[in-house]
Subunit: 150 residues, 2 copies
DNA sequence: AATGAAATTGAGTTTGTTTTCCATTACAGA
DNA sequence: TCTGTAATGGAAAACAAACTCAATTTCATT
């Protein structure tokens, strides 16, 4: 799944900032990079506790901003009252197409978005850092179900 | 600012659903449509209380889903621990370019997004309902400041 | 205008997420 | 190994958002 180089990137960042590399931080990062699923704090916490690791939620909450700053992790969207994340390192930048009914998520990329970004940078004089495109609708299955319901 | 037709749209919706038109709902909607600024629940609440209106936050929280369903209001983005909204009626669909430093927001439209939407609908078989594009970076002023700081 | 069923209200309470606090522990450079 | 400081877990606090409930208001029907 991962060659561990995200850990090296994180260690370098900690060193540069004078912060510390701890067992808990390593465990959390390994867990995040162990799968390519999206995650949220609570399910990550439960998963780790079930595996017998003794991390606290506070440590996860404290780590996430650091992972975002190193661009190892991104916020994906806010739903069900809390934020959802994904790890970024090792993935091409991509956007999300989501079914509002069954919550399935498709990932996609489109070169036109880079063009839009570039035009915006010129037009408004911005230094563009990032974009998030969240397209929402009904997947083929739910679309059918939904039409029948109406 | 507004000719009040958003109120009529809302009344029609309430009638259709068997819900009631109340003074509080009217006041809240008027307040939302009084300016074209983005808003959040807390600042809207404070603004109304300062004007001497006796609405409760609960009423605002209860109203927002109805306004979203009638497409009078949209969620814009989640920031600072809570959702931010904008009224939609009377505005073309648009996306946001935001400065992460000073929080200034530019609105823009781009025909390429409709194309992307259309292609996604075909490629994944989705019925696309909406998209949100949130482009983030540094505005011209903050860009300069930021570079000096480094 | 009066009625009455049902929706809505404000205030307070509860839930759930995220942040902060604090005493203790662990890291990393000298 | 010592030492200063960051990070830890667990609890408590802060916060947004949702729910509860008795009192009130709406509105179609008289």
């Amino acid at each position: 799944m991962s060659d561990g180089s995200e850990l090296q990137i994180f260690r370098d960042y900690l060193k540069k900032r004078g912060l510390r590399y701890t067992r808990e931080r390593e465990q959390i990062i390994r867990e995040i990079f162990a799968t390519h699923e999206h995650f949220d704090v609570d399910s990550l916490y439960l998963k780790m506790r079930q595996k017998g690791m003794n991390v606290s939620k506070a440590s996860i909450y404290r780590l996430i901003p650091l992972l975002i700053e190193t661009e190892l992790v991104r916020e994906v969207f806010f739903e069900d009252g809390h934020m959802h994340y994904e790890h970024v390192y090792g993935h091409e930048h991509h956007c999300h197409l989501r079914c509002l009914e069954c919550r399935k998520i498709e990932e996609f990329t489109d070169p036109r978005l880079a063009e839009v970004e570039k035009d915006l940078a010129e037009r408004f004089g911005y230094h563009v850092l990032d974009h998030r495109l969240d397209v929402r609708g009904l997947c083929p299955e739910c679309r059918t179900k939904y039409l029948y319901k109406k």
